[in-house]
């Protein structure tokens, strides 16, 4: 434990790695990386066996690349990114989605809050204010996932499957994501609950572009999430 008051955010946040799980997002990843770089100097994209050259686009935009030789799933990509960042002495990790649905200002605010309030984890939540406008069905799906997560983990969250999170190094070392597929959002919460480290939720805006809407979690996928959670 270090004294949080002595930690001031240097420009470019050199103690922080942004981890982006990347799978076939070649059309948008370049812009996402370029938007991040002014605020976060260290960005790593975990290319999860993309077949559309996403890794090359991200590297050109200025990100570090780790390439899974085969597709393993988003949870596995996050875990790889965590281990990459820890190897390079990261103090904080920001998880960020590759499809451009998060805002960099939200990530900066969450990191600042983690520093000033001495929080081991800051979750982004799209349901703490009314900026984000998900469709009705999507809202039902996400709320169900949150209810099951809270129920199985005894945490109090409003949005468990938000890809924007800030995780401090001490919490990071205790996370070992085993579910390769989508339920890692819950698995992070489960493992965090066990550490007993301080966490908070921060309101963020999720931008539902036509692009991310077309790619987003379908209803069938949420069935998978629920079953993965129940059968462990």
């Amino acid at each position: 434990m270090t004294d949080p008051a002595s930690e001031t955010a240097a420009p470019g946040n050199p103690d922080t790695w942004v981890v982006i799980p990347l799978y076939n997002e070649a059309t948008v990843i370049g812009g996402v990386v370029r938007d991040l770089l002014p605020s976060f100097g260290k960005v790593v994209c975990v290319d999860d066996g993309s077949t559309d050259g996403s890794g090359g686009v991200a590297a050109e935009a200025g990100a570090r690349i780790v390439t899974h030789p085969i597709n393993l799933g988003q949870g596995a990509a996050l875990q790889t990114g965590f281990e990459y960042a820890l190897e390079r002495g990261a103090r904080y990790v920001v998880t960020f989605d590759a499809d451009g649905q998060h805002r960099v200002v939200d990530a900066v605010a969450m990191l600042d809050r983690s520093r000033t309030d001495d929080l081991a984890i800051v979750f982004g939540s799209r349901f703490l204010d009314d900026r984000t406008k998900p469709g009705f069905l999507k809202k039902v799906v996400l709320k169900t996932a949150v209810a099951v997560t809270n129920w199985t983990t005894r945490t109090r969250l409003t949005d468990a499957h938000n890809g924007l999170r800030v995780i401090r190094e001490d919490a990071l070392r205790r996370i070992h994501l085993r579910q390769d597929r989508m339920a890692h959002g819950t698995e992070i919460v489960v493992q965090l609950g066990r550490t007993g480290l301080p966490y908070a939720e921060q309101p963020v805006e999720v931008i539902y572009s036509e692009y991310s809407k077309a790619k987003g979690q379908s209803l069938l996928n949420s069935v998978n999430i629920l079953i993965d959670l129940i059968i462990r």
Binding site: V66, T67, H68, L72, Y84, D180
Partner: protein, 124 residues
């Protein structure tokens, strides 16, 4: 003994011999082999004396020996499926670890090479 019974017995013995030869695992291998031999004995007896099977079925309140066989078969298939799924999940977890180690090693090598190239560029 009918020709069909003979063929069945030959088939069971052949398959069991192959299974005993190629069973995976080390610790529980002997147990698995004993189990396979017991299975062959039971199968041969059931083929030669189908009435015994029917008698056992009656004892369980089932009409015919073939019905008993069917029920046991269904349970065995489900047990096999579960065992296979679990084995695949374990194998998937190993593959994930291996692929992650490869990915991280690859990144380390690449960054080391880039650093060396930069330093060479400065020297010359």
């Amino acid at each position: 003994m009918s020709i069909f019974q003979l063929l069945l017995i030959l088939g069971v013995v052949l398959i069991a011999a192959l299974a005993v030869r190629f069973l995976p695992g080390e610790r529980s291998l002997a147990l698995k082999r004993i189990f396979a031999i017991l299975f062959v004995l039971a199968a041969v007896l059931a083929i030669l004396f189908p009435n015994v099977l029917t008698a056992i079925a009656h004892a369980f309140g089932i009409g015919r020996g073939t019905d008993l066989l069917l029920y046991v078969f269904i349970v065995a298939v489900m047990a096999f499926a579960v065992a296979t799924i679990r084995a695949k999940a374990r194998s998937d977890a190993r593959v994930t670890k291996l692929a992650r180690a490869v990915a991280l090693m690859d990144a380390r090598n690449r960054e080391q090479n880039e650093r060396r190239d930069r330093e060479d560029g400065r020297d010359s």
